[in-house]
Structures are given as structure tokens and as C-alpha cells.
């Protein structure tokens, strides 16, 4: 089973320092209000990281540096916390994050099949993002909708009682909707 954790290579903030930043277009002013809110509050690191991720979809390297600068939190301990909790992502993600549940009830109802089907459909491995940056596929621990196993969540929408076919349909419907949106524009 795979509950997705960050790859050390991609997530290594210190290593990234030596590379040319791919994300020089990050607008760091977006997190000013957040940092101000949590400036002197004890135990603030996790809500701050959650806030940053809500804004950018992940936690960019530049954001870590800014938090260090504004709040005085050490880079090493921030990295330790960000890599400990599976919620945090240090890489950009797709527009739609597909979370396939691999809790016990879903496992017993063949959740692996759903993940394998979507891996094949999207041509990505578990935890990766499609080339067109539309989808990120993740395996997650229990989403708590066990009676409808197997289950997946995309954004805040939950889809239950899936099989390979219905899972593919959900993704294809989204793809179609996106295509129509872009041709409308």
C-alpha cells in the first residue's frame, strides 16, 4: 500500500538552493497576511504551513525562506515538520488532486485496482502529476467513507462504490469539461 510521502530528492530544500529556482514567478506577498496573523503565536508552524499550501497548492522553497525571515523559524526544523506530515507537498501539483483511499475497507474492496487503472489511464505513477499539470494521483489513508468503498476524492468531491470503469469515467468527464472550457475561451 502506498500512503504518499515526499521523495527526499524532490523535497530537499537545501539541495534546491544550489539549483536555479524554477519557481521564480511565485508571488510571496500572498502569504503576508497569514504570517502576520501567526507571527507571535506559539505552536504556529503547522497552521502556517497549512495556510501556505492552501494558497499555492504546495509549499514553495521561497515560502520557507520567507517564513524563516519573518517568523524566525529555523529552516531545518521546518523541513523536519514538513516532511513528517503526509499532508504537506513540496512540489507543485496538478489542478485536480485525485486521492484514492487505501483504508482497510477500501483495500478489502479492491482499491488497488482503482489506483492501477488510473495510473494506466493518466500514464503516471502513484504520487506523480500528469505532464499537462491537470491531475495529481495520490494514494491516501482512510477518508472515512467506508460504507461506499472503494472511494476516491477529487477536491472536495467524493466518489464511492467505484470500479475501474466508473473511476475512468469520472476522470474523462473532468478532462472533457476542461477541454470545453478552453475551447470556449
Amino acid at each position: 500500500m502506498r500512503i504518499q510521502r515526499l521523495g527526499i530528492k524532490e523535497g530537499n530544500v537545501l539541495q534546491a538552493k544550489t539549483e536555479k529556482s524554477k519557481d521564480s514567478s511565485i508571488d510571496l506577498t500572498k502569504i503576508d497576511e497569514l504570517l502576520q496573523k501567526y507571527k507571535d503565536k506559539a505552536g504556529n508552524l503547522i497552521p502556517v504551513l497549512q495556510g501556505v499550501q492552501n494558497i499555492y497548492g504546495y509549499i514553495p522553497r521561497e515560502a520557507f525562506l520567507k517564513i524563516n525571515h519573518e517568523l524566525g523559524l529555523e529552516l531545518a526544523s521546518m523541513y523536519g515538520v514538513a516532511t513528517f506530515y503526509s499532508q504537506f507537498r513540496l512540489n507543485p501539483v496538478g489542478k485536480y488532486i485525485i486521492k484514492v483511499c487505501h483504508g482497510t475497507a477500501c483495500h478489502v474492496q479492491n482499491a488497488s485496482k482503482i489506483t492501477n487503472t488510473l495510473m494506466e489511464l493518466l500514464n503516471v505513477n502513484d504520487g506523480e502529476t500528469t505532464d499537462d499539470k491537470l491531475f495529481t494521483l495520490e494514494s491516501v489513508a482512510c477518508l472515512g467513507c467506508c460504507s461506499l468503498a472503494p472511494v476516491m476524492m477529487i477536491g472536495n468531491d467524493t466518489y464511492g462504490k467505484l470500479n475501474g470503469k466508473s473511476a475512468k469515467k469520472v476522470i474523462n468527464d473532468i478532462k472533457l469539461a476542461e477541454k470545453n472550457k478552453s475551447t470556449d475561451n
Binding site: 500500500m1 500512503i3 510521502r5 506559539a42 505552536g43 504556529n44 508552524l45 503547522i46 497552521p47 504551513l49 497549512q50 523536519g80 515538520v81 513528517f84 506530515y85 503526509s86 499532508q87 504537506f88 487505501h102 483504508g103 482497510t104 475497507a105 477500501c106 483495500h107 478489502v108 474492496q109 491516501v140 489513508a141 482512510c142 477518508l143 472515512g144 467513507c145 467506508c146 460504507s147 461506499l148 468503498a149 472511494v151 472536495n156 467524493t158 466518489y159 464511492g160 462504490k161
Partner: protein
């Protein structure tokens, strides 16, 4: 009386399409200008019949099940416009026995008393159902802190998160530790895969949990409270924040609450960030403090030195939800249910290969058989029951010959499993017990914080052994090595995660050793689950030569001409099972 239509909008209802149902009903009411009130409620526990729609009119109450979007027009037309209830679709009613009345009859709803019966975002409806009457009683009748703790002790309630420690005793310890600053925390980090009791409570009746915390804070003299809720429950977090603000606006949180001099309290939600280990109380405290969720040595216990080193009391969601009921109705209202050492009721999440999957609240002491085959309706597709997993990844499996045992802390512990938080995953003849052990160990290995060598490395090695076994590379001595490692990991781990990680392996070895032996010595999976141990062959009499299997085979190892019987070359077969899945003629034999 104005007709009411109430749609169940808990997370599983929404997953089954209830939002669309709600929107459609809303449209119909508006277009037809119908004199009907549309409301929402949350999970009533009957998840296998979602989406659920309740209609209340002058004649009574009718709960409809399986109301998908396509049935809405028919329902409104018949029941609302023509006032003819549709008996076939009714699962429960106060006028006659609906199709699922047995599901409700076997239950005693104390913790879940309000879930599914009110709009969880309305404090007015909660108060109509007695929310905050318990804390009001404490204020009006001048019930002292010690008396409150005595009520809780007398009720016999034990921690519903899985620890099973006496709640009253825990409160007493925290109260007796002197400090100006004390904290009360609700552990809503329900991380057990297969468990969603707490999610339903938080989505369905947040005020019960908040009131329980207020009473607990009063008893131990806490000034600040936190609800540590896992981030994977966004609806629960939203409803909690709404409820907390409503509680503040109504004077149940703040200063000198309900006129009790010096009783000041506010409660905040802290979101988890995806770490199962943070369900362990010291790891939870570390997480609230902004650190990595790594457990700490006990003693000192949190009651003495918890959050920010101050006395802290931590209880589970379900434990708190029971407290207002106990205070309002007296300890006997609770301890009249249950067994000698396990009083009251417990909420279970019935999932897996069961017909009636959902949430049930039953008195302690009911047998597992009654829950699975009575309320639960038995096994899906009427297959053969094999085992039930209690307690999630910390628990163990209970085989068929033990399912008449009563469900209470001691009886369950005697089987090698634990009660846990209430997840009950039912397995049938197609479940491989070695694979289940591997699944749980994969989970605990991933979630191990890494602090203790035996947990960190021991679970890794156990997982490696189990993976080899399920892939056909099991060796002589593997079982003995698993047993040896299990004991060492239990002994060498600081917290409950490591101490209980070997339980699934130990119980499956105890009751299903033959399956392990078949995998290791015969290279066979009796449940026909472990693909690498299966042999796939084409049944000549059934094969039509449609070539679908040959086309799908990833190693091109199936040969045959169109309309001729096909053949799988075993040497090239990687046991992926694609041919079996794709064949439309049942022409593939698996053994």
C-alpha cells in the same frame, strides 16, 4: 403543519450523490412553488442506503432509502403532491415497519442520539434536543466539580478512543494537579482505516462534543480547549467552527460561563496534517505545539504535564459526546447497559464484506455474531464469513469460532484483538489473511514516527518477510522470525503504535497459521488473492477465441488464432490477472 423534506448530507451521503438530490428537490420546490420546507441533516448511520431522504408530514415520519437523483421526481410527485407514501422505498417509519427496521431496533443511541435527527448547523435545533441542558443543570443546581467527576465515575464510562481507561479517573487526576493553566483536548484524529464514528459525530452533532468538553473543563478547571481534528475531515472542521461560534454567541463559551464565577473557557480547532501517530496523546500534544508528532515518555502523564507542560486532559470524541447525557440523565441511565466492567454503549463502524455497512451503536456485551449477522445483515453475496478485524491496525482479527463472544474490553482482549476505536471490518472467504497482515503492517510501518529502533526497523523487517511470503518467496523459519520480532517490537516501543503494530500478524498467525504455511511451503494462496501465487489457465470448453485476453496480456504470453481455443504459456505469465478480469465468457480458471 408544513411538510418537511430532510436530506442526509453527511460525507457518505454526499459521496452517494445526496448533494445533487438536495439541489434537485430545491429546484422542484421552487418551480412548483410547493409549500414544503427543505432541510439538511447528517449521517443517521444507515450508510448502505444512502442517499437518505426523510419526509415528515401530518401523518407521520417516513425515511426513504436509495433516493438517487433519478428517483426525486417520482418521490415528490407521489408523496408530496399526491400524499401517497411509497412503501417499497421506505426503510423506516413511525407508522409501520420499514424494510430496515431491524437495523434500528437492535441499537441503543446515546452518543449518536441526535445524529440524523437535526440540522447540525443549527444550535436552536440542537437545544430543542437538549443540547447544553447538562451544563445548565450544573450551573443552576450548583453541582460541584467533584460531584461531576463522581457522576462520570459512577457511569463506568471508559475511553472510547480505544484506550479504555476510566474517564472519571482521568478527570480526577487532572483536577488534582494544581496549576493556574490547564488544558482540555478532544482527540478527533480518527486515523484508524475503516473507522468513521467520530467523523459522523462531529458532522452530525458537534454541540454534544463541545458540551462534553465544557463539562470536562469545568470539572478539571481547564481554561482553554482544543479539538485536534484530522485534516481529511473538512466537513467536520467546518461544522465544528460554526458550532463553536454559536456556542460563544450563546454564552456557553467565554467568561463566567452561565454565571459560574471564575469559569472561563474557549475552545479552538487545530487541524491535523496527516499523521496517524498523532492519535497517540503525547504525539498529539507535540503536534499542537508545532513539532513533529513524536510520542514522549510517560510518566509524566499528560494529566500532570501535558500541553506546554501544563496539566492536560485528553478524551476521544465519542467519550465527550456521552458526557452531557450522563450528567442530564444520571449515571444509571448509562451503566444500566453493558457488562460488569464495560458499561454503556459503543459505536461501531461496520464495513468490509457486509450487507448493511454503516454506523451502529449497541450496548456493550452484545455478541459479534448479533452485530454482523443481525444488524449487519450478514455477508455480501452470501459468501462465507472468515474473520472480523477489530481495532484497526492496532487490533487483531477474530475468526468464526469466536464470534459468539460478548463485545466488551476484556473479552475482546482475551482473543488477542483489542476493542479499539470501533472499526469492524468484515472479511469473507476471498480475503487472504496473510495479505491483511501485510496491509496493516504496511500502514503502521509507513506511519511509524521513527523514534524507536524496534518499531522503525522491526516493522520494516516484518513487512519484508510478509511481502516475500505473499510473493511466493517464503522460507523455512519465516513464521518463527515473525513471532520473535513481534515480541521484541512490543517490548521495545515507547507508544501504542509500535506496541500494537505486531497484533494483526500475531492474531492471523494464531488463527490462520495454515494460510501462512500454504503460502510458504505449498506456494499457494488459499483465498486466491495473492496474484503471484495463482495459476491462470484457459478452459478449452468455454473459450470462444475472441482474442480479448491475448490482446490485453502485457507479456504477450497468450497464443491462439481468432475463433480458436487460446492457450496461456505459463513460463511467460506474470500472474497479473488481466485475462481473468477481461474475459467475458468465464473461460479462465484460477487456482
Amino acid at each position: 403543519m408544513k411538510k418537511q423534506i430532510i436530506v442526509g448530507l453527511g460525507s457518505c451521503g454526499i459521496a452517494a450523490g445526496a448533494s445533487k438530490v438536495y439541489n434537485k428537490i430545491s429546484q422542484i420546490i421552487e418551480l412548483g412553488n410547493l409549500d414544503v420546507e427543505l432541510k439538511q441533516t447528517s449521517c443517521i448511520g444507515m450508510c448502505y442506503k444512502e442517499p437518505l431522504v426523510e419526509i415528515i408530514d401530518d401523518s407521520g415520519r417516513y425515511l426513504y432509502g436509495d433516493i438517487t437523483e433519478d428517483k426525486v421526481n417520482y418521490l415528490i410527485d407521489k408523496h408530496i403532491e399526491h400524499e401517497e407514501p411509497i412503501k417499497d422505498l421506505i426503510v423506516d417509519s413511525d407508522l409501520f415497519e420499514g424494510s430496515e427496521h431491524e437495523y434500528f431496533e437492535g441499537q441503543v443511541k446515546i452518543a449518536l442520539r441526535n445524529c440524523g435527527f437535526m440540522d447540525p448547523e443549527s444550535i436552536e435545533e440542537a437545544m430543542q434536543r437538549k443540547a447544553y441542558q447538562a451544563i445548565e443543570k450544573i450551573a443552576t443546581d450548583n453541582i460541584s466539580r467533584d460531584e461531576v467527576i463522581q457522576y462520570v465515575l459512577d457511569s463506568g464510562i471508559r475511553g472510547r478512543g480505544g484506550g479504555g481507561f476510566s474517564t472519571g479517573m482521568k478527570w480526577r487526576f487532572a483536577k488534582n494537579n494544581e496549576s493556574d493553566i490547564k488544558y482540555i483536548i478532544c482527540n478527533a484524529d480518527e486515523g484508524d482505516p475503516g473507522a468513521f464514528m467520530d467523523r459522523s459525530l462531529l458532522e452530525g452533532d458537534p454541540h454534544a462534543v463541545i458540551e462534553g468538553m465544557i463539562i470536562g473543563a469545568y470539572a478539571i478547571k481547564a481554561i482553554s480547549g482544543f479539538i485536534y481534528c484530522r485534516a481529511e475531515y473538512p466537513l467536520a472542521i467546518k461544522r465544528l467552527n460554526i458550532a463553536l461560534q454559536q456556542a460563544r454567541d450563546n454564552g456557553f463559551l467565554g467568561n463566567n460561563i452561565l454565571g459560574i464565577e471564575g469559569f472561563n473557557l474557549d475552545i479552538f480547532v487545530k487541524e491535523g496534517a496527516g499523521a496517524f501517530v498523532c492519535g497517540e496523546e503525547t504525539a498529539l500534544i507535540a503536534s499542537v505545539e508545532g513539532d513533529r508528532g513524536m510520542p514522549r515518555k510517560r510518566p509524566p502523564f499528560p494529566a500532570e504535564q501535558g500541553l506546554w507542560k501544563k496539566p492536560t486532559n485528553i478524551n476521544n470524541v465519542e467519550t465527550f459526546a456521552n458526557i452531557p447525557y450522563i450528567i442530564l440523565n444520571g449515571p444509571n441511565s448509562y451503566n444500566k447497559y453493558g457488562t460488569e466492567k464495560s458499561k454503556g454503549t459503543k459505536v461501531f463502524a461496520l464495513t468490509g464484506k457486509i450487507k448493511h455497512g454503516g454506523l451502529v451503536e449497541v450496548p456493550m456485551g452484545i455478541s459479534i455474531r448479533e452485530v454482523i449477522f443481525g444488524l449487519g445483515g450478514g455477508i455480501q453475496d452470501d459468501k462465507k464469513f472468515k474473520a472480523v478485524q477489530l481495532g484497526g491496525p492496532s487490533g487483531g482479527c477474530i475468526p468464526e469460532h469466536l464470534i459468539d463472544i460478548p463485545i466488551d474490553y476484556d473479552s475482546v482482549n482475551s482473543t488477542g484483538a483489542i476493542m479499539g476505536s470501533g472499526g469492524m471490518v468484515v472479511m469473507d472467504e476471498t480475503t487472504c489473511m496473510v495479505d491483511m497482515a501485510k496491509f496493516f503492517l504496511d500502514f503502521t510501518q509507513e506511519e511509524s514516527c521513527g523514534k524507536c529502533t524496534f518499531c522503525r526497523l522491526g516493522t520494516k523487517r516484518m513487512l519484508e518477510i510478509l511481502t516475500r511470503i505473499t510473493e511466493g518467496n517464503g522460507r523455512e523459519g519465516d513464521i518463527e522470525l515473525l513471532e520473535e520480532l513481534a515480541v521484541q517490537i512490543k517490548d521495545g516501543s515507547l507508544c501504542g503504535l509500535g506496541q500494537s503494530a505486531p497484533n494483526p500478524v500475531l492474531t492471523t498467525l494464531k488463527y490462520f497459521r495454515n494460510e501462512y504455511e500454504a503460502h510458504i511451503y505449498d506456494k499457494k494462496c488459499p483465498a486466491k488473492h495473492c496474484k503471484l501465487l495463482l495459476t491462470y489457465e484457459i478452459i478449452p470448453e468455454a473459450c470462444t477465441g475472441c482474442t480479448v485476453c491475448a490482446v490485453k496480456c502485457p507479456t504477450n504470453t497468450i497464443i491462439g488464432e481468432r475463433k480458436q481455443v487460446h492457450f496461456i504459456e505459463q513460463d511467460g505469465c506474470i500472474h497479473c490477472g488481466e485475462c481473468f478480469d477481461k474475459c467475458n465468457f468465464d473461460a479462465i480458471k484460477v487456482y
